[in-house]
């Protein structure tokens, strides 16, 4: 399989992530969408490293991104849990005290 196949998968994953963030009405799906975008970037890093890099830069970056994603998920879920306690919902549309 060539580099193109990997890039196609990652671009599709990126697009799906963005779509999930835009259309889903539940905050948890939005967080899934963000994870998908991060993993799309990861596929890119590893694939580019495999096909045209000599060092390990890309693979190393991918490992750091996995750590980042875990840390972000931890903070985001804690915040969402707190929102759920206070608003009794996880739908962003119903959490709207702050507006013009």
């Amino acid at each position: 399989m060539g580099l193109g196949a990997y890039i196609a998968v990652s671009a599709a994953l990126f697009a799906l992530g963005v779509v999930a963030i835009v259309v889903r009405r539940n905050i948890l799906y939005v967080l899934f969408g963000i994870e998908m975008i991060l993993n799309a970037a990861n596929i890119n890093f590893v694939a580019f490293n495999r096909f045209n890099g000599d060092g390990l830069d890309g693979r190393m970056f991918a490992i750091f991104v996995i750590i980042l994603a875990a840390a972000e998920a931890a903070v985001a879920l804690a915040i969402v849990l707190n929102v759920y306690h206070l608003f009794n919902t996880t739908k962003p549309a119903e959490v709207d005290l702050l507006r013009e």
Partner: protein, 494 residues
């Protein structure tokens, strides 16, 4: 052995901050929920020590540590900026009347953690470290925005921030992965240098065949910076988060976090397009990135100023004002010249005094009246004359009128914009300044031209003193900007 010790010396401020952050956490545990103010004083002392180390570094030759960290005057400038704003934010936390001051040691831990993120973000040409610094800052900021766990507004602010932040970070990361694929390196200097003869094509080689992939990667990466600086179209989080977060946190986001975004953007553009070994085709491409930034600047300041006009909450108004100011700063960046970058750095210094002052006023007034609506300001100038006069000074400076530092900062930005031939942009910016006069003046009018409501205001002499100092400095550096200009000149990137 020395190969490890020497770079560690270069990282002394970062290591000290890390120790201070952990120290703050442990100290709070040892105090067992008694007054957390002690942790705040500890934070102030550690910041002072870091500031002294940084001050001694100004003027040193640039060095590198571990192949990724660049220790130069540009980085030191923004590190000092961060430390100085964090010190003021810490004093804000200590004087916050809405804060319980029990069990809040994590507040200081998170602030210091965010500062460590900024420190790495502003001192690297390597995209991995840039991303890690940015994320460390973001993660700490999300938690800080939601720090008042029982408050619904605070929780909502944190949720919105984490969604927008996560999305922007993901988009930026994807952009970085594309840049890596195009160039085979994560180091910006290497990227700009490569001639494009080897495989992968490198930035220069790619630009000669087709600019589309580079443009795509560039737009995605710039989105990450735009989010940190709250530049349109990545500004949506700003008003909500600024309004919902605790006011000291808002101050931190408006001043230190935004400055970090500006610094990282300057370094990114500087290394990629304006360095000494940059391929000519890459440098030419930099000019078109500048054009894109100029358009963003115009849209950002116009949207910020027009939206600020119809706000009823003072914090929200200042949020839109901070969006508008991101637009002004972008003028200097968009020129893509050393002098333009210098003007942007000077404006950040000006921004420090006037915005810390303005948010300090919000905190004072919120603590005494329990509201941040502009209506509630009615007649406040007669009840608390000293800080109200200070606030008017900050507003004059934010508008960009003499004799304040905001005027000189804007003058420099406009001058560089004109020198770079961006007449239309400077025209838009000048019109925007006039628009901003309306809503800034509305606050001043509320303070002094309306009959006071009954009741008196509790005094906080130390806090008022801090605001008075910021006010005096705003005018002092407005009349004599040479000291700051000299300082900025010592810290230039290019």
């Amino acid at each position: 052995m020395d190969a490890y010790i020497e770079p560690l010396k270069a990282l002394a401020p970062e290591l000290l901050l890390t120790a201070a952050a952990l120290g703050a956490l442990v100290l709070d545990l040892l105090m067992r929920g008694r007054d957390s103010r002690f942790v705040g004083y500890f934070t102030l002392v550690s910041l002072a020590i870091v500031a002294i180390i940084l001050m001694n570094r100004i003027g040193d030759e640039p060095t590198a540590a571990f192949g990724m960290v660049v220790v130069d005057n540009f980085g030191t400038f923004f590190k000092l900026f961060t430390v100085a704003s964090l010190a003021v934010v810490t004093i804000f936390v200590l004087s916050d009347r809405n804060e319980s001051h029990h069990h809040i040691g994590e507040y200081y831990f998170l602030l210091l953690g965010a500062a460590i993120g900024i420190f790495f973000m502003v001192s690297t040409n390597h995209l991995l470290l840039l991303m890690l610094g940015l994320e460390l800052l973001s993660l700490a900021s999300y938690a800080l925005a939601g720090f008042h766990k029982g408050e619904r507004k605070s929780a909502e602010a944190a949720m919105k921030y984490v969604v927008f932040g996560g999305l922007s970070a993901g988009v930026m990361l994807y952009g970085i992965s594309l840049l890596y694929g195009l160039t085979g390196t994560l180091d910006l200097v290497e990227m700009a240098k490569s001639t494009g003869e080897a495989m992968p094509a490198g930035l220069a080689g790619q630009l000669t065949t087709s600019a589309v992939p580079v443009a795509l990667a560039m737009v995605l990466v710039l989105a990450g910076f735009a989010y940190k600086m709250s530049v349109v179209p990545f500004h949506f989080w700003t008003p909500d988060v600024y309004e919902g977060a605790p006011t000291p946190v808002t101050t931190f986001l408006a001043v230190a976090s935004k400055a970090a975004g500006v610094a990282a953007l300057l370094r990114f553009l500087g290394a990629l397009f304006l360095g000494p070994d940059v391929q000519s085709v890459v440098a030419e491409y930099g000019a078109s990135v500048g054009q894109l930034l100029a358009i963003l600047a115009a849209v950002t300041m116009t949207l910020g100023n027009l939206s600020a006009m119809r706000q009823t909450s003072l914090k929200r108004l200042l949020a839109y004002s901070s969006i508008a100011h991101a637009g002004y700063i972008l003028i200097g960046v968009a020129t893509m010249t050393g002098a333009g970058f210098e003007a942007a750095m000077f404006y950040m210094a000006a921004y420090y005094f006037m915005n810390l002052g303005a948010f300090g006023f919000v905190l004072y007034f919120e603590g005494t009246l329990g509201s941040d609506s502009i209506e509630a300001l009615k007649g406040y100038g007669f009840k608390a004359p000293l800080i109200s006069i200070a606030m008017v000074t900050f507003l004059v400076s934010l508008t960009g009128l003499p004799p304040t530092i905001g005027f000189y900062g804007k003058y420099l930005l406009f001058k560089e914009g004109l020198d770079a031939g961006m007449y239309w942009l400077v025209g838009v910016a000048a019109l925007n300044s006039v628009v901003s006069l309306f809503y800034y003046f509305r606050i001043a009018k509320m303070l002094f031209l309306k009959e006071p409501a009954s009741g008196s205001v509790p005094r906080q002499p130390l806090f008022a003193g801090l605001l008075a100092v910021l006010c005096v400095l705003t005018i002092y550096f407005g009349l004599l900007p040479d000291a700051i200009q000299e300082f900025v000149r010592n810290c230039l990137l290019i």
